[in-house]
Amino acid sequence: MKEYNFDSLKNLKAPESWIENAVNIPTQNKKAPVTYLKFSRTLAYVACFVLICAISITLLQYKNNSVVKTDPSYDYAGIIATEPQNNHSDNTQSHTEQGTNSDGVIIPPEKNNEQSTTKPTDVPTESVVNPDNTQPLPTEEPWFPRPTLPNDAPGTSDTPTQEPTDGDMPGDPMTPVPGNPSTPGPGYDSPLVIAVNISKTKLDGYYGDLYCALYDPNGTLVGDSYAFSSDKICLVREFPAAPQYYTVIYSTQNKGISLYYSKYSYEIYKNDSTVIYSGICYTN
């Protein structure tokens, strides 16, 4: 092997300052031993893991408890929106018939399109065709019993503000007030609370506000007291017992609405005025 003259390179020495600095490395690193660096790294990993878990839990909670609006003053124990049973004494409104499915769940009838109603001009109805106006068409969503709210739901209380009338239990179909429900009564001070379970499929990805329009038996919109458009906005809740549904809740409380009749009809509609649900409810 031919030797080459690389003497300069071979004799290359590091400056003395470099050597001294390198020799002092053990003393300089006493304050930051390897174990400390390893601990710091482990701590960083744990912190990242905890942060990711916290974010995931927060997102899951947000997804499970998606609430459009909440009002702690609502007493959901007083939810009473139901349809009359077949033993309803009032036979003047044929569209009030309802049946039950095989599970015994009350199926509210579709609204009678021939009923003369005065609707707001900005609310086109999504009419459900009833060809012969005899047999009611079952609605898409079956009625569920009054939803079971979590114990910490705002507004939940053991004592409903609306005491059921004699013979009526919560969840049972309401017995109509004797007399012609189309005639105004003395007025009801208790708020009317409507609760409807609407399938998520029906909403088809709609995440905007849902509104409720209330009509008296004459078809007149109970709208004079709707001083603010926000008075028509419903609450939308999601309950673990019925994950495929949204529970749409509307109350007349604090909206200046005077209830003179024992029976009202209502429509739930989207912000483009598309009606997605209609039904009949009774006051106590």
Partner: protein
């Protein structure tokens, strides 16, 4: 705290024993004193931190060379610079251009040949040992040696055997 020992030497003894090897490797790679100092310090810092269990002095030297090369490569990547004599004339390493000493020509070689020729001619390593240090195939080392010699000849204009 008990002093660490490497191949029977204390840390200070290792620094004083192998500082010329480490600085030469750094200069070979970086061709710049300022940059070489950082990698020089980092090499011995790694030795102190990693505390490899080395009992043989030859292994210790090979370990230091390998770490020094890695530190230089990391330094270059981090700074994203192409080290060249033209860019770093102020702090560049100058070897005499006179006499039979052709160290200056080695610095002008391409980077991939510099380390191989240095380890072969200056540190007297065998091809297999160089392959082990640089983590390359021995045949690759042979080829790089051959090509390196040819290029070195062109640079300093002499004969190579």
């Amino acid at each position: 705290m008990a002093q660490k020992h490497f191949a029977g030497l204390t840390f200070e003894q290792v620094v004083r024993e192998y500082n010329s090897t480490v600085v030469a490797v750094c200069i070979m790679r970086l061709q710049n004193w300022a940059d070489a100092e950082d990698c020089f310090q980092n090499t011995f810092l790694k030795l102190h931190q990693k505390s490899p269990d080395i009992t043989d002095s030859s292994h210790l030297k090979a370990w230091l060379i390998r770490v020094a090369i890695n530190e230089c490569n990391n330094y270059i990547k981090k700074n994203k610079r192409n080290i060249s004599l033209e860019d770093h004339k102020e702090a560049s390493v100058d070897f005499p251009h006179e006499g039979a000493d052709i160290s200056w020509a080695l610095l002008e070689l391409e980077e991939k040949y510099r380390n191989v020729l240095y380890l072969y001619y200056c540190e007297q390593y065998k091809v297999s040992e160089i392959a082990d240090i640089l983590n390359k195939n021995p045949n690759t080392i042979k080829t790089m040696l051959m090509r390196g010699r040819e290029k070195l000849k062109k640079i300093y204009g002499g004969d190579i055997g």
